[in-house]
Symmetry: C2
Subunit: 220 residues, 2 copies
DNA sequence: AAATATTTTTAGACAAGTCTAAATTTATTT
DNA sequence: AAATAAATTTAGACTTGTCTAAAAATATTT
């Protein structure tokens, strides 16, 4: 089914707001997310329901349908692949990519998506640390959790930060820590919860409990 | 000025049909090119004229304005850069790129265009042999001329054919020659004007004077 | 140069997506 | 459980881009 960019954006918003389809989403929530009037959302929801992409009971919000979920995951896949491309290949900073990816995600060409995926060597995680669904919509990475909960010797990748104060981000930068950095915990001090990690190039870094708490990771 | 994809497509069509702004274009010609009704074209022309992109005298066609020319060249630049990307980087075939590039050309991000250009190493010619305008809209490639006039060892690219009989085109296809093929002349027989060329993959091809005469090329 | 043919424009309508204002339904208070 | 508040839907309108049919202007024929 061929959808307009607008329809795709609604589907994507509903998917995200419903926490991947786990709960219903209210009209106002969507209106808020997309900066539109609630009336516009009502209209669009009716259209999406007619196309069997969402399930709609008047006055009781929408639930995303399996079809809708598939559409959403395909858009998310494209969005995140393009983000990887922009950062890894075109040297964008990871805060410059979102707006452009919002446009690129609507390009309709399965061949382009497949070739881009191949060119990027089938990345599983985007520059923000979010997982990239495969062609079937499957997400092949575990959930995010705080570095504090990571076990000794388990390999992991930094996927996000809980705290985005510039002081904290600067501190990470000084330590050489960024999204996408791979490491494992090699030591843990019971005393103050501080942690020693080892990066890929055998570089060892000491992290305070405070820093560890604000680093979100994923198992490799 | 921010334009819709539709407006951009009209501008592009007018630019091409006017031969880069050299002559006026009639309503029907545009309608034909874009597969729309003449009435729709009339409406759009009025809009583009209001935006000072074209010059319009009722019943006498449109002339593209300098502003419009700039817009057209920017779209053409993006289109051709993306074609280079698709062919060189993502290994698309020559004939698979147009449709996708038609979508990608409307992506609005000067940074993306600049970085793409850089990544592709500032190509001057697209896979079809058409020139890629630079950021200012200048076309920095030499003129087309017959292969007969090309010097020995000079690298060139096939950019057009003078003769479009299917017999000739078929012959070219058999030889593996198409628009965009890069080569140089390695030998020239004084006797009958026949020419030996060498393609990028060191493949050597023998061309009769008759064939050479009908092949238009550009220096690389 | 009058008649005819062609091209172009205008008029009016439609679909998509948006809005505001009013009506309706659901939720919350008292 | 009645009254009030909040959320949602409907109604009607606007914009963009499209169309068909009719009117107007230009071109071509005879």
């Amino acid at each position: 089914m061929k959808l307009s960019s607008t329809e795709e954006n609604y589907i994507k918003a509903i998917y995200h707001l419903s926490n991947a389809g786990e709960k219903a989403v209210s009209t106002n929530t969507i209106a808020d997310e997309l900066n539109t009037a609630a009336a516009s959302v009502s209209d669009m929801i009716k259209k999406l329901a007619n196309k069997k992409l969402v399930n709609y009971k008047k006055y009781h919000g929408v639930n995303i349908d399996d079809n809708g979920k598939k559409v959403a995951l395909s858009i998310i896949r494209k969005h995140r692949l393009w983000e990887v491309f922009l950062v890894d290949t075109l040297n964008f900073n990871w805060d410059e990519v979102h707006e452009v990816a919002e446009q690129l995600e609507h390009i309709d060409s399965p061949l382009l998506t497949a070739r881009l995926d191949q060119f990027l060597d089938y990345p599983k995680i985007d520059p923000h640390g979010d997982p990239i669904p495969d062609e079937e919509g499957n997400i092949n990475v575990g959930p995010q959790f705080s570095l504090l909960e990571l076990g000794l010797q388990e390999e992991a990748i930094i996927t996000a930060v809980e705290n985005s104060e510039s002081l904290f981000l600067q501190h990470l930068d000084n330590l050489g820590l960024r999204l996408g950095v791979r490491f494992k915990i090699i030591e843990r001090a019971e005393f103050d919860g501080s942690i020693m990690i080892q990066l890929e190039e055998d570089k060892k870094i000491f992290l305070s409990k405070e820093v560890a708490k604000n680093l979100l990771v994923r198992n490799l």
